[in-house]
């Protein structure tokens, strides 16, 4: 009896630790992938490069939901604020709203620096987020191959 209880306790503990670790690590969300044309000689013989730009974002709706949950006497104002925020950010989007919408503009310059010859092939554009519940990292990643000089 004691043995089975101990086993269940261990399973629950391990599951809780795994879940806690998972939540602490963050969840990677893939929003979109786009693949450009491939010149096989460049991809197989060229140099692989990776460019990543990111912006930290605060999930205001999540913050307000947490505030609502921990407030001892709530009059529902947090949920009203959350609704207002959600309505003002309505529309198609990927990830959480960021305060600097130009964070990915410099990616073209990075691409030029990474492959000055311009002979790039197999360029893959990835839009992803790393979600830590209240805050999230909004990423734009380019993976490509540059022909050897």
């Amino acid at each position: 009896m004691n043995g089975s209880c101990f086993r269940i306790h261990r399973i629950v503990l391990a599951t809780s630790m795994w879940l806690a670790l998972s939540l602490m690590t963050g969840c990677a969300v893939l929003h979109s992938v786009q693949l450009g044309e491939i010149d096989s000689s460049v991809v197989l013989e060229g140099r692989r490069f990776e460019i990543k730009v990111n912006e930290l974002a605060l999930d205001v709706e999540q913050v307000l939901a947490v505030a609502e949950a921990i407030a001892t006497q709530s009059d529902g104002s947090y949920s009203i604020l959350a609704d207002i925020f959600a309505l003002s950010n309505m529309g198609p989007r990927t990830g959480v709203a960021v305060y600097n919408p130009e964070y990915s503009d410099g990616i073209i310059d990075s691409l030029r620096k990474e492959c000055p010859s311009g002979q790039i092939s197999g360029l893959m554009s990835i839009r992803e987020s790393i979600d830590f519940d209240v805050i999230s990292g909004e990423f734009v990643k380019l993976v490509g191959y540059c022909a050897q000089e």
């Binding site: 690590t25 969840c27 992938v33 096989s40 197999g122 990835i126």
Partner: protein
């Protein structure tokens, strides 16, 4: 319950490049990640798609690539998956020259008959001037 067991597939993103005329050899690569409790630590499974496609077309180019991203739900909350598939066509041969590098066709002459006559008159006037100059030089040189 039956609906839950069947599962759902959602299309997240689609993109395509220009479709080539030569579509004899299709190639395909897929990246797949199963998500337990929707927990995912990275998206590196898509990085190998390019290499996979290039390996299937070693002596050519892969064109007309359709990239498709699907979110699959096997069971609510517990069992999900993300699948990214890329299909294209292997084209072997020299790539077509870019439009701006192709030789521009010669434009047909827009010259009218009046312009041609004017040009002839100018030539005649220039020739007469040259003859006059030559005659004047000869006169000056003669003792």
């Amino acid at each position: 319950m039956a609906v839950c067991l069947v599962g759902c597939v959602h299309m997240s993103a689609v993109s395509t490049t220009s479709i080539p005329a030569d579509r004899r050899k299709p190639v395909e690569a897929t990246g797949y990640r199963f998500l337990f409790l929707m927990i995912n630590f990275d998206n590196n499974y898509v990085d190998e798609l390019t290499q996979d496609l290039a390996n299937q077309c070693k002596n050519g180019r892969v064109e007309g690539i359709l990239t498709k991203q699907e979110d699959i739900m096997y069971f609510p909350l517990f069992a999900h998956a993300v699948q990214v598939s890329a299909t294209g066509y292997c084209v072997v041969g020299t790539p077509p020259a870019p439009v701006h590098e192709q030789a521009a066709p010669e434009e047909p002459s827009q010259e009218t008959s009046t312009e041609a006559a004017d040009r002839e008159l100018l030539k005649e006037a220039a020739a007469r001037e040259l003859l006059k100059e030559a005659a004047a030089r000869e006169l000056l040189e003669t003792p």
